[in-house]
């Protein structure tokens, strides 16, 4: 049995009874047992219940009962997305034992289509980071070379899909957190338009810009998952009705006659040579398929990282205030403490990156500095959006490398936060403006590390975006993961 098949391939085989769901899930558990000690993608594996769920779905399929379209596909879920009965730790000491009494909307929608949640995967604490090194439970490693980081913050999602520990995963993308690990782990990752997917049950980090995003082996799989999880949710004020678009249909429409803008600010100086050459090759391939590629300058991108970290830190400092250990949290008795001392003591258990961002957030929001930092960062957002609107009047898509650099070694940048922040230069634009962006695996470096290409489309143009991503995906044949 091949664990390397795509999720959609699995679904069609399971539907026809060509695959036993139970057998596939058992094999997947074996695979996790075998490889996860090397890559540490999982925080929790639900080995107790998933086999029973798989058996029940096999039974439904056999007896021709109505079965959900996932047909028991094992999925992993980033551990900042709430799941009933499984811990949702956010990779933090603060929530190390927290079990949400409810499923996130995305999770309940997957479950109602007979997906199996095989486990919860690692992330940077509260999704703050781009390497998955800032996890209370220790770092996740890149399946292509375990000395390297898998990207982040959804490093567990990227690594678990790449390492064939599940068929697909849900991550969350606040500043590139789905696309960075997708790029570094050679899988597909989509950051949908803000408002397309419910955030109910996604633990907030920077709630004005983040979205849940699918991570999968193929663009088809991403489209398939998007069909299930997208659309208006009565539990989230910020979701919109997308008119039940079918993202799978016409996926292979191609990109002939389409215009693609190459973002000058993302392909110039300062990007890795191999990444740059891969990007050039990708552009040539797309031109071969009949697309017209022209350079587009978005000068607001130069300010995007500063604006992103200002806004994200500000929102983080507020979103994480609720973790005071009074209502839930780790065991820590209030006896003998005065309120403020208790809370400050409990909250000293946040890791260094989260603490840093909360301090920064408090600073940029404080009375004297609001105008200098936060307000300007908000105006940069408006500026980026205006420049993108202008660009999308000329082109259908924008293109850039997902990450300006190749995956780097674990520990290499952990002590230099600013350097790490600057690696987000290509991804944060989509979050600040709300537009969708996808990372598609395209190439391998000479050292055998993955390189992903990023495509953008205008708001709520996921269908078109996935068509272009599919076209790009078909231009390359990539090796199997050496694990």
């Amino acid at each position: 049995m091949n664990l390397g098949i795509s999720a959609t391939e699995f679904a069609s085989q399971a539907k026809e009874g060509a695959i036993s769901v139970e057998e596939f899930v058992a094999k997947t558990l074996d695979r996790i047992k075998k490889v996860d000690e090397k890559i540490h993608a999982f925080i929790t594996v639900d080995s107790q219940n998933v086999l029973d769920q798989a058996k029940a779905i096999d039974k439904k399929i056999k007896s021709k009962e109505k079965t959900g379209i996932c047909f028991g596909m094992p999925l992993s879920i980033k551990d900042n997305i709430c799941t009933v009965g499984l811990k949702t730790t956010c990779a933090s000491k603060m929530l190390e034992n927290f079990v949400a009494p409810y499923d996130a909307t995305v999770v309940s929608r997957l479950k109602s289509e007979d997906a199996i949640i095989i486990g919860k995967v690692n992330l940077d604490e509260f999704a703050m980071g781009s390497t998955t090194e800032f996890s209370y439970f220790g770092p996740t490693k890149n399946p292509w070379n375990t000395e390297y980081v898998p990207g982040g913050s959804s490093g567990g999602s990227g690594a678990s899909v790449a390492a064939l520990e599940c068929l697909a995963s849900l991550g969350s993308d606040t500043g590139g957190s789905v696309r960075s690990p997708a790029s570094f782990c050679s899988v597909v990752g989509l950051k949908p338009t803000y408002g397309l997917i419910s955030r109910y049950g996604l633990v907030s980090y920077a709630n004005s810009i983040e979205q849940v995003g699918p991570v999968a082996k193929t663009v088809e799989d991403v489209a398939f998952l998007l069909n299930i999880i997208s659309g208006h949710d009565p539990h989230d004020n910020t979701t919109v009705n997308n008119g039940r678009v079918d993202y799978v249909k016409d996926l292979k429409a191609g990109i002939s006659g389409k215009k693609i803008g190459i973002i000058s600010q993302m392909v110039g100086d300062g990007i890795d040579k191999e990444v740059a050459s891969a990007t050039t090759r990708a552009i040539l391939k797309l031109q071969d398929l009949g697309a017209e590629c022209i350079p587009i300058s978005l000068d607001a991108v130069d300010h995007s990282v500063a604006a992103y970290y200002t806004i994200a830190s500000a929102e983080a400092s507020s979103n994480l205030s609720r973790y005071d250990n009074l209502r839930y949290g780790f065991d820590f008795s209030t006896e003998g403490y005065e309120f403020k001392a208790f809370v400050s003591k409990a909250r000293s258990n946040f890791g260094p990156e989260v603490t840093r961002r909360m301090l920064l957030g408090a600073f940029v929001l404080s009375a004297g500095y609001y105008g200098k930092y936060y307000l300007k960062a908000q105006k940069v957002r408006t500026m980026i959006k205006a420049q993108l609107d202008e660009a999308f009047r000329k082109v259908d898509y924008l293109i850039s490398p997902t990450m300006p650099i190749l995956p780097f070694k674990v520990g290499e940048k952990i002590d230099d936060p600013l350097k790490l922040y600057l690696t987000d230069i290509n991804t944060v634009t989509a979050n600040l403006s709300g537009i969708p962006a996808i990372s598609v695996p395209f190439s391998m470096s000479s050292s055998g590390l993955p390189i992903g290409i990023q495509l953008f489309a205008n708001s709520f143009q996921e269908k078109e975006l996935l068509q272009a991503a599919h076209a790009l995906q078909e231009t390359s044949k990539l090796p199997e993961v050496p694990l």
């Binding site: 997305i81 709430c82 949702t88 956010c90 929530l95 927290f98 949400a100 009494p101 409810y102 996130a104 955030r199 109910y200 049950g201 996604l202 633990v203 907030s204 709630n207 004005s208 009565p234 539990h235 989230d236 004020n237 910020t238 500000a314 929102e315 400092s317 507020s318 205030s321 609720r322 005071d324 009074l326 209502r327 839930y328 209030t334 309120f339 403020k340 809370v343 408090a362 929001l365 404080s366 009375a367 609001y370 936060y374 307000l375």
Partner: protein, 468 residues
């Protein structure tokens, strides 16, 4: 000169659900933490879902207080740590970056004095804290989140009050108003809470918080004014500070907290999009609104020719103006308004007393008619009213049981006048000389008839008999 401003927190008690979730808005008398859900308990991953009706009700309050309502309203987070705040921030409204709160720049006239409303904002109530333990060492704080997320409207006035009496009148009017437009029952415990700020002359502003009951506001303000004035007299500067009302000792106490300089780090609440309040929906809300106090007052003046003062008094009291509207007809309106404002309001001036009144619109209407038809003098009317208020008996029963029937037939009055003439020979002689003293004799007749004689008839007969 004393300047007083108010911040009034008014719960929207007439709603079914909380401001951001479907838990019950009415939290009173429930088991601790039995009216909570992931949203109002601030669990990770939960999101606030704004209550449509709460926006409507807050709009009604803003309209009733003559505020401007913006096309778009927005919500902000006010960040501070406190155990009654499940998220350690409060979702509220804030105006520093453009007017996005539900109301601003309003005004309301109270007894001829204009009180400006600075801002009205919609926000969530925190949970409730209960303190347990006797000594400082053993003290713990128990938290009940049943109230957390209850819809609250904060009304902020300009410092336009000059004395605590104006504040009391304003608060009564405001309480009536929110009750009148059907947004709140202001008399429920904790439904309406008031903080004040006071300054004397050019002195510093002192905030008064924690005034438990509505009635203590006036007392707290009185205390604080006296305190500040005596400081000024002794040449001591009044400190800008927050003081708490100590209910037991009936004084204000400095809260000596270093939190004075709170930095709330206001932040737009991205989980709630900007809400578009269309003109259409405002017009629709207007049609649902009962008549405003001002409109009611104008109607009284225009339609019934009531003196401004009577119209003022009547229109700003929901209970009595409702009674008026139900009692009067085209003919007796003025008489009804007289009965209510000069007599009835004197009998019952507090809410408790009003609730005890056994009076119905029919009582008032009958009474006014009887007076107008000359069957009862105003004096007897007042006695009848007093009896009806206490017993609820119909007017005719009260008239016969108290023998208040009007004496208007000339024969009976003449008999009584003859008696008076016998007793008051001197006065009769004087009246013949000087007709201006005739009122003395009228008074005597009235006393003999216990006020039942018709004054006009009495005067007529007197004049005839005295040939003046």
């Amino acid at each position: 000169m004393t300047k007083i401003g108010l911040e009034i927190h008014c719960q929207l008690t007439k709603l079914a659900s909380k401001l951001f979730c479907s838990c019950k808005a009415e939290y009173r008398n429930l088991e601790p933490n039995s009216n909570i859900c992931p949203v109002c308990a601030g669990l990770p991953g939960s999101l606030p879902m704004l209550n449509k009706k709460a926006v409507e009700k807050a709009t009604m309050i803003s309209l009733a207080l003559g505020c401007n309502i913006p096309e778009k309203i927005g919500f902000f987070r006010k960040n501070y740590f406190y155990p009654d705040l499940p998220k350690n921030f409060q979702i509220t409204q804030y105006n520093a970056y453009g007017p996005t709160s539900i109301g601003s720049d309003g005004k309301i006239e109270i007894e001829g004095k204009e009180i400006r409303i600075r801002r009205i904002q919609l926000e969530e109530d925190p949970g409730r804290l209960v303190y347990e333990g006797t000594s400082e060492k053993t003290m713990v704080t128990l938290v009940d989140y049943n109230r957390a997320g209850t819809p609250l409207v904060e009304i902020v006035t300009e410092p336009d009050f000059e004395n605590p009496k104006q504040v009391r009148v304003f608060l009564n009017v405001l309480a009536d108003l929110v009750e009148n437009i059907g947004v709140s029952d202001p008399y429920l415990e904790g439904a309406m809470r008031v903080d004040g700020n006071i300054s004397e002359g050019d002195g510093n502003r002192v905030e008064i918080k924690n005034v438990g009951s509505f009635r203590d506001v006036e007392k707290a303000l009185h205390f604080e004014i006296t305190r500040q004035q005596s400081l000024v007299e002794r040449g001591i500067t009044v400190l800008a500070e927050t003081r708490h009302w100590d209910d037991a000792r009936r004084i204000t106490v400095s809260s000596r907290s270093k939190e004075e300089e709170q930095d709330y780090r206001y932040l737009p609440e991205a989980d709630i999009p900007i809400v578009l309040i269309g003109n259409k929906s405002i017009e629709q809300i207007k049609t649902q609104m009962p008549e405003s106090i001002v409109a009611r007052r104008d109607r009284y003046i225009k339609k019934y020719g009531m003196p401004t003062q009577v119209a003022d008094v009547l229109s700003s009291d929901k209970f009595y103006s409702d009674l008026f509207d139900k009692s009067h007809n085209e003919k007796n309106a003025k008489e009804v308004s007289n009965i209510i404002t000069t007599d009835l309001m004197g009998f019952a001036d507090t809410r408790e007393k009003k609730l005890e009144l056994k009076i119905t619109p029919k009582h008032i209407s009958d009474l006014a008619d009887s007076i107008l038809e000359n069957k009862l003098t105003r004096n007897s009317g007042k006695l009848a009213l007093q009896e009806m208020v206490k017993t609820g008996k119909v007017l005719s029963d009260v008239i016969s049981s108290l023998d208040l029937g009007h004496v208007s037939d000339a024969g009976s009055i003449e008999k009584i006048i003859d008696e008076v003439f016998k007793e008051e020979e001197k006065a009769v002689a004087e009246a013949k000389q000087n007709p201006d003293t005739i009122n003395y004799l009228v008074g005597k007749v009235m006393r003999k008839t216990k006020g039942k004689a018709d004054p006009a008839t009495t005067l007529d007969i007197l004049r005839k008999k005295l040939s003046v």
